[in-house]
């Protein structure tokens, strides 16, 4: 039985706070943690499937053109080679997040260097890889493919455009103004587990083990790509070794494995190499961003401008949503916002951890630091003075707003010196030392979700949904929500995820997983509670459950009388989405040291204070924040995709040359959870958290670099060469 709940109004009843088990929010370790660290949690490629052949993708060595011939004979006689697949259904790009349709297909047309054009299948992986390198392919190359986003006429994303008042006039009249242009380089998701799939057919039924974030969408994408019915497909993604956006949609290996398995009548495994993951899945677009801030003599914003240029391949709908939080973070009645996308022939741009704010906020918060200096006030104070009463563009209230609390509590916990700020005040030997801060903001996303909860006759519970856990703690928080509602120790709750045989969840992405699927579990549990209350003869509100018993000592097993009680919760965000602007907020504080001679920057300590609704698990929430701050360090200092200027190929395509922060780059990070209840965000009063921790943190580091050594940089990442170029003598 399915119970549908559509949220049209805020739910401020905070029912979860009235439950008696007392397990929600507790810092429980991840349920699947032991299995993962002992290697017993199988990832997509690790399933043992009899008679499985191995496929390796062949990728293009031209940027743009047509494949005129694939010489199968060139490899079919090589040892172990079984087949060459160049079916026109092969995908040449990854699907965008929530696309719900097949990505670009047709390997005959090449749109970027490194694009998959065929699959070679062999008995062993090594044989397949060798043959893939030897496959003779001929092309008709089209010259002159656009590669430089600054060299083409970009398209305006009109739904992002805001013209409000007269910004030019506000800038001219302003007591203080800032007009600066920032750049950010492209980023890679850099998930540890490479993209992989094993496909097997049983008649017209297809089962695929894959590494995916959003099975609910992925099954539709795969069905569309293969032109078959979803009912005939089963996708399994029980454990995912990180996604960071790169596994939101299906990638080339999923479709290739399915087509190959069909063609040769055997299961086929396709694992992308590290280089292929970098070159064929998703990049975050580089950005160029102009920030214009106009302020009165007190630093109150009278004008706000944010214009951004991003890029993508022709035919892709995604444009890095750089302005996402700029629309509402600060006031300023005169506003100009514009997003443009340049069509170029580099690999697909798509969602990479915190799309939008991950790069938009570092630019905005850098510019705010410049403004604070001009106004001559503490940068924390500048933010506090500019928190709007309501959404400055839409006539909407905020669902909740913890920015001021985060700024104040964060400053306090960090030991922020709120006196006058001047750069180059502290030096120890070769090192300049300084501090910086920035606000955090990340829009709250939420989606329709279904989960089945079964209260078993034996007094344990089972939660089933095709929701994924990409390392974030979904298994654990769902056990906590169900345990809290049903009066069970979470150890008594079995959570089954990542299988499309289960009810459709929202998938993991946009930080919406916990609030969305958690609400579906909540809805299902609430109805189960109603049934139980009926049996006891009281109302659901009166029912107190803990340790498997009611307040009067009746056990769940007695109440169930040998029967399972199953309900499917179906949560759907309703009109409420149009009634409020909802976002997570926070504040970052960083202390860095910058080497006077070499320009190397090392983060000494960093703190983030975040308000994102209800905390479902203090440990996994904190871990999410720490992960986010770590990525902030990457954005600020090290991460940059480098593309060849002549053919557009990604050159630094492995983890040795694409620099994510290593342990030594990440000091002790402190997290302050500014807990709140946001009844308009979800029925469980929770908002997204995964991405918030990296939305602005890079600016805290950039601002600290300036405070330390006086080098004001406008280009991320702030590598030693750039720091030195901006370093005063």
């Amino acid at each position: 039985m399915t119970v549908h709940f559509k949220q049209d109004e805020p739910d401020n009843s905070n029912r979860l706070d009235g439950m008696k088990q007392g397990v929600l929010g507790k810092p429980l370790p991840r349920i699947e943690g032991l299995a993962k660290v002992t290697g017993t949690a199988p990832y997509a490629a690790e399933y043992h499937i009899d008679d499985c052949a191995e496929g390796v993708l062949v990728t293009s060595t031209i940027t743009r053109g047509e494949v005129t011939s694939v010489d199968r004979a060139s490899v079919l006689s090589m040892p172990g080679v079984i087949a060459v697949v160049d079916d026109e259904k092969l995908c040449t790009r990854a699907a965008q997040g929530t696309a719900n349709e097949a990505p670009m297909q047709g390997p005959g047309q090449v749109c970027y260097w490194g694009q998959p054009i065929a699959l070679v299948v062999a008995e062993t992986f090594e044989q397949a890889r060798d043959a893939a390198k030897h496959l003779k392919v001929e092309y008709r190359e089209e010259n002159g493919a656009a590669l430089d986003p600054n060299a083409v006429e970009p398209e305006e994303q009109e739904d992002e455009t805001v013209h409000q008042g007269d910004l030019a006039h506000a800038m001219a009249k302003a007591a203080h103004s800032v007009d600066v242009t920032y750049t950010t380089k492209g980023h890679a998701s850099a998930a540890m587990e490479p993209h992989a799939a094993i496909a097997q057919w049983d008649g017209d039924k297809l089962t695929v083990h894959a590494s995916l974030q959003m099975l609910n969408y992925n099954i539709t994408e795969l069905a569309d790509a293969l032109d078959m019915e979803e009912e005939n497909i089963r996708l399994i993604s029980r454990f995912v070794g990180g996604g960071f956006g790169s596994k939101l949609g299906i990638s080339e290996e999923v479709v290739a494995a399915a087509l190959a398995a069909k063609q040769i009548g055997r299961p086929v495994r396709v694992v992308q190499s590290r280089q292929q993951v970098f070159q064929t899945v998703m990049r975050r677009s580089e950005t160029t961003q102009r920030l214009r801030l106009a302020a009165d003599s007190d630093g109150k914003l009278t004008g706000f401008g944010h214009e951004a240029l991003v890029s993508n391949l022709p035919g892709e709908s995604f444009a890095e949503p750089v302005l996402q939080s700029s629309h509402f973070l600060y006031g300023g009645e005169n506003r100009e916002l514009m997003l443009k996308v340049a069509r170029i022939h580099r690999m697909t741009a798509g969602s990479v951890r915190a799309p939008g704010e991950a790069v938009g906020m570092p630019a905005l918060e850098g510019a705010m630091d410049v403004l604070a200096e001009k106004v001559g006030i503490d940068p924390v104070e500048l933010r506090l003075r500019n928190i709007p009463e309501q959404d400055p563009e839409e006539d909407l209230p905020f669902s909740s707003h913890k920015l001021a609390d985060c700024l104040k509590q964060g400053a306090e916990a960090f030991g922020w010196d709120n006196g006058p700020r001047k750069p180059r005040q502290r030096r120890e030997g070769e090192w300049w030392i300084g501090t910086g801060m920035a606000s955090a903001a990340r829009v709250h996303n939420i989606a329709e979700a279904k989960a089945r909860v079964t209260l078993k006759a034996d007094g344990t519970a089972l939660v089933e949904t095709d929701m994924t856990d990409i390392g974030t703690g979904t298994y654990t928080i769902l056990a906590q929500i169900a345990g809290e509602m049903l009066g069970l120790d979470p150890e008594q709750v079995l959570v089954e995820l990542g299988d499309t045989r289960h009810p459709r969840g929202p998938g993991s992405g946009g930080s919406w997983g916990a609030a969305s699927i958690g609400s579906a579990v909540y809805v299902a549990c609430k109805v189960i509670r109603e049934e139980l209350a009926k049996k006891v003869g009281i109302s659901e509100e009166e029912l107190e459950l803990s340790e498997g018993k009611t307040a009067t000592g009746e056990s769940l097993t007695d109440l169930l009388e040998g029967n399972d009680l199953a309900r499917e919760g179906h949560y759907e965000p309703g009109d409420i989405e149009d009634d409020y602007t909802a976002s997570g907020f926070g504040a970052f504080f960083a202390e860095v040291r910058v080497n006077h001679y070499t320009g190397e920057t090392r983060v000494e300590r960093m703190l983030g204070a975040f308000g994102f609704g209800r905390v479902l698990n203090a440990k996994t929430a904190r871990s999410q924040c720490i992960g986010g701050i770590t990525w902030s360090i990457g954005v600020a200092l090290t991460e940059a995709l480098e593309f060849d200027p002549r053919d557009g190929h990604l050159v630094n395509c492995d983890l040795a040359e694409y620099h994510v922060p290593v342990h030594r780059d990440v000091p002790d990070l402190e997290v302050v959870l500014v807990e709140e209840r946001d009844g308009a965000a979800s029925p469980i009063q929770a908002k997204g958290i995964g991405e918030l921790g990296m939305c602005g943190g890079a600016a805290a580091i950039a601002n600290a670099i300036y405070n330390a050594c006086g080098a004001r940089l406008y280009d991320y990442p702030m590598t030693p060469d750039r720091v030195l170029a901006a370093m005063p003598d």
Partner: protein, 327 residues
């Protein structure tokens, strides 16, 4: 990966015979070679495993120096008591490289032979004169941030990526080599070659020759520094690195052995740099003079232009640090 034959070499002589053939490569730790084989950059038909040749010891030499077996691991070498006590620049250089896991597996001989990390060398679908003579250099006019500013040619601007050899160069170590013509010793400073017109020839090893060890001269004392400038604080190749062995007597330089990494196709040692310091009291002007000599012929390729001022500043920082310590 091309299918290959794996053979354990039973003796040095047989290892030499095996690797004399064009299609056979010696494998020790394999930390670099296996990666390159997966990428099809190296495609040997046979690997001769030299791990059991008994050249893994670290032992004192008669003159008070130290001989590092070619197959001693980087970790064993870096933590060796005498290395830490008498050749700290070497210990520091090794520990500045790679990761703990890689150092546990990587050998001293292999480290000397590691290939460049140039993006165009490791991508077989791009031009590279080193990998495929005559195809051109992808890095010139390409992405060349990590590339060389000294000793380049119009054929190749790749760098030697290692740290250990930079310290060995400053120390004036020698490499022991064994081949069918017998044994020979080559100073580390002469072991690696500049690219010239033959960028695929990276060192003086002839076909069939195998490094058996590295000999360090008797300890020289002094202040020993290895400074590596990099974009992240571990597991990154040097933008520039400096190995320095410096001593002051009566306020003047009495020793100044300097070698540089990240600048060229080999660890860079220019004797004139140290000579300019000898007998002089430390000063900013003197450090500048040393940098001018070092960088006299330096030439950037756009993206790596910054290496020239960065090297100047890093040398300055190292000399300030060394002379403050030594004073």
């Amino acid at each position: 990966m091309r299918p290959f034959q794996y053979t354990r070499a039973p003796s040095l002589a047989e290892a030499s015979d095996m690797t004399a053939g064009e299609d056979t490569l010696a494998i020790a730790g394999g930390t670099n070679l296996l990666d390159l084989m997966k990428l099809q950059v190296e495609t040997p038909g046979q690997l001769a495993d030299i791990n059991r040749l008994g050249i893994a010891d670290v032992e004192d030499t008669d003159d008070g120096g130290l001989r590092l077996g070619a197959l001693a691991t980087n970790t064993e070498t870096a933590v060796h008591q005498r290395v830490r006590a008498d050749y700290p620049v070497l210990s520091r250089a090794i520990l500045a490289g790679a990761t703990q896991q890689l150092r546990n597996k990587a050998t001293n001989g292999g480290n000397l032979c590691q290939r460049t990390r140039c993006f165009y060398f490791t991508n077989i679908d791009q031009p590279c004169n080193k990998r495929e003579p005559g195809t051109g250099c992808g890095a010139i006019d390409g992405i060349a941030k990590l590339h060389a500013v000294l000793g380049t040619s119009d054929q190749c601007i790749a760098t030697y990526p290692g740290d250990m050899a930079v310290a060995l160069s400053a120390l004036g170590a020698t490499v022991q080599i064994s081949g069918d013509k017998g044994e020979r010793s080559v100073p580390v400073r002469d072991f690696h070659l500049l690219p010239g017109d033959t960028p695929w020839i990276e060192n003086v090893l002839e076909a069939g020759e195998i490094i058996t060890g590295i000999t360090l001269p008797p300890p020289v004392g002094g202040t020993q520094i290895y400074r590596k400038v990099r974009e992240r604080s571990s597991y990154a190749f040097a933008l520039v690195s400096v190995a320095a062995i410096v001593e002051l007597k009566d306020g003047k330089f009495s020793r100044a052995d300097l070698a540089f990494g990240g600048l060229a196709h080999k660890p860079w040692h220019d004797p004139r740099v140290g000579e300019a310091l000898l007998g002089q009291p430390p000063s900013d002007a003197l450090f500048d003079k040393a940098a001018n000599i070092l960088l006299e012929d330096a030439r950037g390729f756009g993206e790596n232009d910054f290496k020239i001022p960065l090297t100047r500043r890093t040398l300055h920082a190292v000399l300030v640090q060394a002379t403050e310590k030594a004073a």
